[in-house]
């Protein structure tokens, strides 16, 4: 299950966190949603502590100069890999 989060609304991350470990959940952050990846963001830090898989669009992180401010548990993915993630996930939850 892929939480595909492109907006500045953190609800998507919150919903993803409510899944139990039985569900295979990946959170993908794009556009201004990549700011949620900042280490000082409590919701995302908590999601990482829960061992949720979080990826972020590399180009959008780089443009914003954020690579030094995010946890190294967050996987940076290029557009080609994003397309793969989309087709690998049976369910896409757009937020």
């Amino acid at each position: 299950m892929l939480y595909f989060i492109t907006g500045e609304d953190i609800t998507g991350v919150e919903l993803a966190m409510e899944h139990t470990d039985d569900d295979d959940v990946t959170i993908l952050l794009l556009q201004n949603a990549v700011y949620f990846a900042n280490k000082s963001n409590k919701t995302v830090t908590q999601a990482l502590n829960q061992n949720k898989k979080i990826s972020a669009c590399k180009e959008h992180i780089d443009t914003r100069g954020l690579s030094n401010f995010i946890s190294d548990k967050i996987k940076l993915v290029d557009n080609s890999k994003i397309i793969d993630l989309i087709f690998e996930s049976e369910t896409i939850i757009n937020m």
């Binding site: 907006g7 409510e18 369910t91 939850i93």
Partner: protein, 114 residues
């Protein structure tokens, strides 16, 4: 696979100030020709269904959705956070516990947020 697709139209934004919720309900109506979309209502979008809100631009969509027996489901947590109760809402909607809302979203094939 198309006949198995579960479509969730996810309303998040308040009913006025933007055209998002109106356009979201219009999308539910459009998609209902081919699928049985469920309209899920969270956050400030719950205000779209209070009794006194001006529904000129979307009352026909609500009516259409109810006439073909599709569900409009309201997240109870979002209501609680805003100090709203069942009595504040119109009859055409159904209140669901947050966990049920989450399950419906998780079981969708396609979620379209507005």
């Amino acid at each position: 696979m198309s006949e198995e697709k579960n479509i969730v139209i996810l309303l998040r934004q308040p009913p006025h100030g933007t055209l998002y919720p109106v356009e979201g309900l219009r999308m539910t109506v459009a998609v209902s020709a081919d699928f049985d979309p469920i309209t899920v209502v969270i956050n400030d979008a719950v205000f779209a269904f209070i009794k006194d809100v001006d529904k000129t631009m979307y009352s026909m969509h609500i009516e259409f959705i109810r006439n073909i027996d599709l569900d409009i489901l309201i997240d109870k947590k979002s209501l609680d956070e805003r100090g709203l109760t069942k009595d504040d809402l119109i009859d055409d909607v159904e209140i669901k516990e947050h966990q049920e809302i989450l399950d419906i979203i998780a079981n969708s094939t396609v979620t379209i947020p507005f």
